[in-house]
C-alpha cells in the first residue's frame, strides 16, 4: 500500500507494466519490488528447494527472494532482482520457480516433506547402481529445484563492452563516495564515480535525516549535480563494480538501456573495464537477518529495507508494523513508521539494556521474536519475554535487523580474507589487500552519516594526493553521528525451521547438521548446505551462518573464517562480457579486392584463416559444385583460368644479409638465387617438422619477396621476427608484410601467355619458368612471377591493391574471351592434388621433409632451423609414413580425406593402420578419383594395393599406391 506524502516517486505520472500477465501500475522512480508492494503484492517468488512463498527481503542488489524473468522469447532475462528492476511502460515480468502459478504452486508440496529434505538428503538418498544419479535422480531434482530458466532462444538483445580510464575510481555514490569524489575531483584528479542505483545518495535516499541542513537525499542530489558539472568527473549511475583485477583494473556492469521502454541503439548492458590509478571503496553495508521460526514469510523484511520502501517509495506491506532488532539502528524503522502514521505494534529489541529511540511506540527490551505466522503473507508474530512468557501480535510487516555487514567483497577479490571486528560484530576490509584500493564509510565499518562523510572526504583527498595532486579534504556538512550499538544475536532458540539463506533454503538446523556430520570447515559447510551459493552469494546470510557454525563447533568467528569472495560481486551476463564477439563479430573478415566481383558471380565463400575466398563460380545449369569445379579444372588445363591469390602471405625483405637469413630459415639455399629468379622453399619448425612452404623471389640485389601459405602468414612473420631478433640479430636486414599492399592473381593455363601478351604494356619476351620481374599494365608498375601451383604454364601478377578489382575484371574478361574464366578454391585444390603439391592438409604439423619426399631439399651444405632435430632417430626411414598418391583399383571407388590405410587382409583397426589420407578429389583430367596420403614406407610401395577405410563415413576402397604426382610428372606443361 502507498503512504501519502512519503517517497521520492513521481506520483503525477503512472507507469503500466505486466506481472505474471496482469497489468499493474506504478510511478516513475519505482522499482518492480516497490510497485508490487504498493499494489498489495507481497508474494514475489517461490523458494529454490521447498517452493515456499517468498516476498521481497531487501531493497538492493543483495535481494535473495524477489527474482523475476523480464521480457520474453529471445529477450527474456532470468533471475533479475525485482529490487533492481526499474519499471517502465511495457515492462513484462514473470515470477520464477513455480508451477502452474505463483499463488498455487504444486511443488510447494516439497515443503511438507521438509523433515526429510534437509541438507545432504539428496547425497545420501539418491544413490543407486551405475549411472542412476546422473541419468535419473539428478535431472529430476534439478527439474524440481532452481531459479529462473533461460528461454532457449538466441539472445535478441544487444550488449556492449567498453574501457574507461581515470585517476581515482570511487565505488559507491553514497555519502562517503560523494565526498570522496568531490575531494579527489576538486584536487584536479580525473574521477569516475560508479553507483549501482539509479540515483546517487546511497542510504540517504532511504533515510529520513538531514545533511547540511537539508534532507539527505536533496543534499546528495545537489552534490551529484555539482560533480556532473565538473569536466574531470564522470558519473556512472546504474553501474555495479563487479570485480577488482590486476593492475588497477575493475570490472563494472552498467544497466545502460535496461530501464528504458524504447532503448533504440542503446544496448541493454555495458560491461566496463575501468583502469584506475587509485580506487576508493564506498560501497556501504548490507543489513543481516536474525533467524527465527518461519522468518521467511512475505512481509518479514530487513528493517533498513522496510524504512527504505517507506521513505523512498512511499509504500509498506501493511498498516500494522513491528520491528525486531539487536541494535540501535533498527529503532529508526519504528520511528519512521510511527512518524508516517502507521501503527507500530512493537519495537522488539533483544538487548535487555536497550533504550527506546523510536519515541512513542510499544517497546519490548530483552524480548525476542520467536515465530512469524501466515502463509503467502505475514499475519502475526509471536514474542517471547525475558521470563519466557509468550505474546502474539497481528502485523502485516516486520522489519528485522541483526546488524550491518560492511560491503567489503572487492577488497577480497585478490585472495585476502576479511578481518573480524568485535566492536561491530562484523567483518571489515583488510586494508591494502588490493593495491591502490582503500575503503571508507560503512564499507569500512563506520556507520554514522557523519563518519561516512568525513572518511569519504579524507580518503578521496588521500587518493588524489598520492597521485601528486594538491589536496584539502572538502568541507564537511553537518550530519547525524549516532553511535552504532549492538549485541550479537544470530538466531532465536526454538522449534521449527529458522531460515538463514533464503535463496538456497538453508536453515539453522542445516548448518548444525553439517557440523555434526563433520563438515566443520566453512568451505565444507557451504558445499554441504549450499549456503551462500547462487545469484546473491549469501550476501544476507553468510556471516550469520558462519557465526552459528562457529558456535556449534566451539570456535571463534575469526577462527572459523569466511568462504572465498570472488568476482563478480553481482551476476554478470556472459552476453555482456562477450559483447561484440557474437555472430560475425567473432573475427574480422578479410576480403580480397575481387570479393565484390566474385560475390556478384554468386560464388560461395570459404573461409581461409580470416580470409573469404570463392569456392567456385557457378554457371547456369550446373547442378552442384562438382560440376562447376570440374569445368574450372578443365578450363585451366585447356585454356586459361584466373584465381585471386592475394591471400597468400607476402613478406618483403631488404638488406645485405637477406640471403644468409633465408639460408637459415629455409631448408634449401637461397643466397645463390639470382635477381629476377624465384625459388621454392621449405621451412621447418625448430623441432624439425615442416612449418610452411612457399616461393621467394629476388626482385633485385637488395629486395626479396617471400610468399607464405594463406593460413601460416602470421605464423611465418612471427617466426622471422623471432629468428632475427633472438637467433641472428647480427644480420643486417629488415622485413615487412606486404600482403595487404599487393593484389595478386594467378593466370594459369596453356593460354596464359597469350592473355598476358595482350594485357601488358610491352610484350613479355623471354620469361622462363621461375622467373620474376617488373612489368607495366596500363602504366601501372606491376610484378610478374612465373610460378605454377596448377602444373600448367602459369603466372602470378601483382598490382598495388587499389587496382586489384579493376585488374581482376580485366583478367576475367580476357580469360573468358579465350575460353577460360575465374576458378575457385575447389578447382585450385583438384589441380594441385593432380600435381601432388602439398598444402597444410599434408604439412599438418606432424610431417617432416623426409615424409613429404623433400629430404633432398634439406641442404647438406649449411645449417638451418630444424635440421638437427629432423635428423633425430625415428624421423627418417622405412618406419615413417611417407607421402604417396592413391587411386582406386577399379577407377571408380570413392576416396575421402581423413581415412585410414590398411594392408589388404588386415583388420581395419588401430593396430593395423598403415597410414592415412590427407586430400582427396575427383580428377576430371584423369577421369578418376585421386588422393594424397601418408603410408608406412610408402615410397617403396608404389604399385602395391592398400585398403582405404573411412570409419566415420562408412567408405571402403581398394587403392593402388602411386607417386604423388599423378599428372604430367615430367613437368613439361609448366616449363614449355
Amino acid at each position: 500500500m502507498r503512504i501519502e506524502g512519503r517517497g521520492r516517486i513521481d506520483r503525477t505520472r503512472e507507469v503500466k507494466f505486466l506481472f505474471d500477465g496482469v497489468v499493474r501500475a506504478g510511478h516513475p522512480g519505482d522499482t518492480l519490488a516497490s510497485a508490487l508492494m504498493a499494489s498489495g503484492q507481497m508474494l514475489m517468488g517461490r523458494s529454490f528447494k521447498y517452493h515456499r512463498p517468498r516476498g521481497v527481503l531487501t531493497a538492493g542488489s543483495e535481494e535473495p527472494n524477489a527474482l523475476v524473468i523480464t521480457g520474453h522469447g529471445g529477450r527474456a532475462e532470468p533471475n533479475r532482482r525485482a529490487t533492481m528492476v526499474e519499471i517502465h511502460d511495457g515492462l513484462e515480468a514473470r515470477s520464477q520457480n513455480r508451477w502452474p502459478s505463483l499463488d498455487f504452486d504444486i511443488l510447494s508440496l516439497n515443503d511438507r516433506f521438509a523433515p526429510f529434505l534437509g541438507a545432504g538428503f539428496y547425497y545420501k538418498t539418491f544413490m543407486g547402481p551405475g549411472k542412476t544419479w546422473e541419468k535419473l535422480f539428478e535431472p529430476l531434482i534439478r527439474g524440481a529445484a532452481g531459479l529462473g530458466a533461460l528461454s532457449g532462444a538466441p539472445n535478441a538483445e544487444t550488449y556492449e563492452k567498453a574501457w574507461a580510464f581515470c585517476d581515482v575510481l570511487v565505488i559507491g555514490g553514497g555519502p562517503a563516495g560523494l565526498m570522496a569524489a568531490l575531494s579527489a575531483a576538486r584536487a584536479g584528479a580525473d574521477v569516475i564515480l560508479c553507483e549501482e542505483d539509479r540515483d546517487f545518495g546511497g542510504r540517504l535516499l532511504a533515510e529520513d535525516e538531514q545533511v547540511g541542513g537539508q534532507p539527505g537525499a536533496d543534499w546528495a542530489a545537489a552534490l551529484a549535480a555539482e560533480l556532473a558539472g565538473m569536466d574531470n568527473v564522470r558519473l556512472m549511475p546504474r553501474t555495479t563494480v563487479t570485480g577488482a583485477y590486476d593492475q588497477g583494473t575493475y570490472g563494472a556492469l552498467e544497466r545502460s538501456g535496461q530501464h528504458l521502454a524504447e532503448p533504440g541503439d542503446l544496448p541493454r548492458e555495458c560491461f566496463w573495464r575501468i583502469v584506475a590509478k587509485r580506487a576508493v571503496l564506498c560501497a556501504g553495508a548490507l543489513e543481516r537477518h536474525i533467524a527465527f521460526r518461519d522468518n521467511d514469510r512475505p512481509g518479514v523484511m530487513m528493517a533498513g529495507a522496510l524504512r527504505a520502501y517507506l521513505n523512498r517509495w512511499g509504500t509498506v506491506p501493511g498498516r500494522q508494523v513491528a520491528v525486531f532488532g539487536n541494535n540501535d539502528d533498527a529503532h529508526r524503522t519504528a520511528r519512521d513508521m510511527a512518524a508516517a502514521g502507521l501503527e507500530v505494534v512493537a519495537l522488539v529489541d533483544s538487548r535487555h539494556e536497550a533504550e527506546n529511540l523510536a519515541g512513542d511506540v510499544p517497546f519490548y527490551p530483552g524480548w525476542q521474536v520467536t515465530r512469524a505466522h501466515g502463509g503467502s503473507a505475514l499475519e502475526a508474530i509471536s514474542l517471547r519475554a525475558p521470563d519466557g512468557g509468550e505474546r502474539r501480535l497481528a502485523v502485516q510487516a516486520l522489519g528485522v535487523s541483526g546488524g550491518w555487514n560492511p560491503t567489503l567483497h572487492l577488497t577480497c577479490h585478490q585472495g585476502a580474507k576479511p578481518l573480524w571486528d568485535d566492536r561491530i560484530a562484523a567483518f571489515v576490509p583488510p586494508e591494502g589487500a588490493v593495491p591502490g584500493l582503500t575503503s571508507a564509510g560503512a564499507a569500512r565499518g563506520s556507520f554514522s552519516t557523519a563518519a561516512c562523510l568525513r572518511e569519504g572526504a579524507e580518503v578521496g583527498a588521500e587518493a588524489a594526493g598520492a597521485l601528486g595532486y594538491a589536496t584539502t579534504p572538502a568541507a564537511l556538512p553537518e550530519a547525524e553521528d549516532a553511535p552504532y550499538r549492538l549485541r550479537r544475536l544470530w538466531a532465536v532458540e526454538g522449534k521449527g525451521r529458522a531460515w538463514l539463506d533464503f535463496q538456497n533454503d538453508v536453515t539453522v538446523k542445516d548448518v548444525k547438521q553439517a557440523a555434526q556430520e563433520n563438515f566443520r570447515s566453512v568451505e565444507h559447510m557451504k558445499r554441504y548446505t549450499t549456503q551462500g551459493m547462487a545469484t546473491d552469494q549469501g550476501k544476507t546470510s553468510s556471516v550469520a551462518a558462519l557465526a552459528i557454525l562457529a558456535d556449534v563447533t566451539g570456535r571463534a568467528i575469526p577462527e572459523t573464517g569466511t568462504t572465498t569472495f570472488r568476482p563478480p560481486y553481482t551476476p554478470v551476463a556472459i552476453a555482456a562480457m562477450g559483447a561484440g564477439g557474437e555472430g560475425p563479430g567473432f573475427a574480422p573478415r578479410r576480403l580480397t579486392t575481387s570479393h565484390a566481383a566474385s560475390a556478384a558471380r554468386r560464388a560461395p565463400m570459404i573461409e581461409a584463416g580470416l580470409w573469404y575466398r570463392p569456392s567456385y563460380f557457378p554457371q547456369k545449369g550446373e547442378r552442384d559444385w562438382q560440376v562447376a569445379c570440374d569445368r574450372e579444372v578443365r578450363m585451366v588445363r585447356n585454356s586459361v583460368g584466373i584465381c585471386d591469390v592475394s591471400t597468400l602471405g607476402k613478406i618483403e625483405l631488404q638488406g645485405p644479409d637477406v640471403g644468409r637469413f633465408l639460408d637459415f630459415v629455409y631448408t634449401n639455399t637461397f643466397s645463390t638465387l639470382k635477381p629476377g629468379r624465384v625459388r621454392y622453399g621449405l621451412m621447418l619448425r625448430e623441432d624439425g617438422f615442416v612449418m610452411d612452404d612457399g616461393t621467394t623471389a629476388r626482385l633485385d640485389d637488395n629486395r626479396w619477396v617471400m610468399t607464405t601459405t594463406t593460413a601460416a602468414a602470421g605464423q611465418v612473420m612471427r617466426h622471422l621476427d623471432w629468428v632475427h631478433q633472438a637467433l641472428m640479430p647480427q644480420l643486417d636486414l629488415r622485413f615487412a608484410s606486404v600482403t595487404e599492399q599487393w593484389a595478386q592473381f594467378a593466370v594459369a593455363g596453356p593460354k596464359s601467355r597469350e592473355l598476358l601478351d595482350g594485357l601488358l604494356d610491352a610484350p613479355l619476351g623471354d620469361f622462363p619458368f621461375m622467373a620474376c620481374g617488373p612489368v607495366s599494365i596500363g602504366g601501372i608498375d606491376a610484378r610478374l612471377f612465373r610460378i605454377s601451383f596448377s602444373g600448367e604454364e602459369a603466372y602470378e601478377i601483382a598490382v598495388p591493391a587499389r587496382y586489384g578489382a579493376s585488374l581482376f575484371h580485366e583478367l576475367v574478361k580476357r580469360a573468358e574471351a579465350l575460353g577460360g574464366g575465374p576458378y575457385g578454391m575447389e578447382a585450385l585444390n583438384v589441380l594441385r592434388i593432380e600435381k601432388g603439391h602439398i598444402t597444410h592438409a599434408e604439412i599438418h604439423g606432424r610431417t617432416t621433409a623426409f615424409d613429404c619426399g623433400f629430404e633432398r631439399m634439406v641442404s647438406a651444405q649449411k645449417d638451418c632451423i630444424g635440421k638437427t632435430m629432423a635428423a633425430r632417430p625415428g624421423l627418417t626411414g622405412p618406419e615413417r609414413e611417407q607421402m604417396v598418391g592413391l587411386r582406386p583399383v577399379d577407377g571408380l571407388g570413392r576416396l575421402t580425406a581423413g581415412a585410414f590405410l590398411f594392408n589388404e587382409g588386415d583388420p581395419a583397426d588401430r593396430i593395423h593402420a598403415q597410414g592415412y589420407t590427407t586430400s582427396a578429389c575427383h580428377s576430371p583430367t584423369l577421369g578418376l578419383p585421386l588422393a594424397l596420403g601418408f603410408l608406412r614406407n610408402g615410397r617403396a610401395r608404389h604399385g602395391e594395393r592398400v585398403r582405404m577405410v573411412d570409419h566415420l563415413r562408412g567408405v571402403e576402397t581398394l587403392c593402388e599406391v602411386t607417386d604423388p604426382v599423378a599428372y604430367d610428372p615430367e613437368g613439361g606443361r609448366l616449363r614449355d
Binding site: 541503439d265 542503446l266 596500363g778 591493391a801
Partner: protein, 188 residues
C-alpha cells in the same frame, strides 16, 4: 593500352555521420614503411629531416610538417605519409611501399573518444593521448595503428589505420560503436 581504375579501401561505405560524429576515409598520400638498417636510426632521422622536414619519431609519436606525416608504427619502424620517400633514404633504411596496404579513416566529433573506448583498450583521453600521439593497438579483434594527427588540435579526431582487407569490418565496428554512443547521448 588498358586503363586500370583505382578503388579506395572503404569505397562507398564512407563517409557516414552518426550524431555529432563523422567517420570519413582519409587519403594520406604515399605511405612508406621506413625501417633503418643496423645503426642507421640517426642517419635516417637526419635524412628524413633534410628531405621531408620530419625526424624519425620516438615510440608513440606522430610528427607532422605541412603535408608530411611521420608516425611511429612499431619496433624500429616508422610510417612516412605524404610524399614519396627521398632517394637518399634508400641506402639508410629499408623502404617498403604500403600506400595500398592500409585502410585509413578519420573519426571526429565530440563522441569520438567514447566510440573508440568501446573498441580500443588503451587510454585515449586528451591528457594521455594528445595530438602527436601514435599507438599500435587493437580495435575490436583487429590490429590497428591509431594516431592523433598533430594537425587535429581544433577538434577531437583520431586517424585509424587498419588492414585494407578488413575495411568492411573496421567500418562496421566503428559504425556500431558510434550508433551506441549517439543513442546514449540521446537517452541522456
Amino acid at each position: 593500352m588498358i586503363e586500370l581504375a583505382p578503388a579506395s579501401p572503404c569505397g562507398d561505405l564512407l563517409p557516414l555521420q552518426v550524431g555529432d560524429m563523422i567517420l570519413a576515409e582519409l587519403d594520406l598520400g604515399s605511405l612508406t614503411l621506413v625501417a633503418p638498417f643496423a645503426g642507421q636510426v640517426e642517419a635516417t632521422s637526419d635524412a628524413l629531416h633534410d628531405a621531408h622536414g620530419v625526424g624519425f619519431p620516438d615510440p608513440g609519436v606522430a610528427i607532422r610538417v605541412w603535408d608530411t606525416l611521420c608516425l611511429w608504427s612499431g619496433r624500429a619502424q616508422a610510417l612516412l605519409a605524404g610524399p614519396e620517400p627521398d632517394a637518399a633514404l634508400a641506402s639508410l633504411a629499408a623502404l617498403t611501399d604500403q600506400s595500398d596496404g592500409w585502410a585509413v579513416v578519420r573519426l571526429s566529433g565530440a563522441g569520438a573518444t567514447d566510440a573508440l573506448a568501446r573498441l580500443v583498450p588503451i587510454d585515449l583521453r586528451p591528457g594521455a593521448f594528445p595530438p602527436g600521439s601514435a599507438a599500435r593497438t587493437l580495435l575490436g579483434h583487429m590490429t590497428v595503428t591509431i594516431l592523433r594527427d598533430p594537425a587535429d588540435v581544433a577538434e577531437t579526431a583520431f586517424t585509424i589505420l587498419a588492414f585494407r582487407s578488413m575495411a568492411t569490418t573496421l567500418v562496421h565496428e566503428l559504425e556500431t560503436a558510434m550508433r551506441r554512443v549517439a543513442a546514449r547521448a540521446e537517452a541522456g
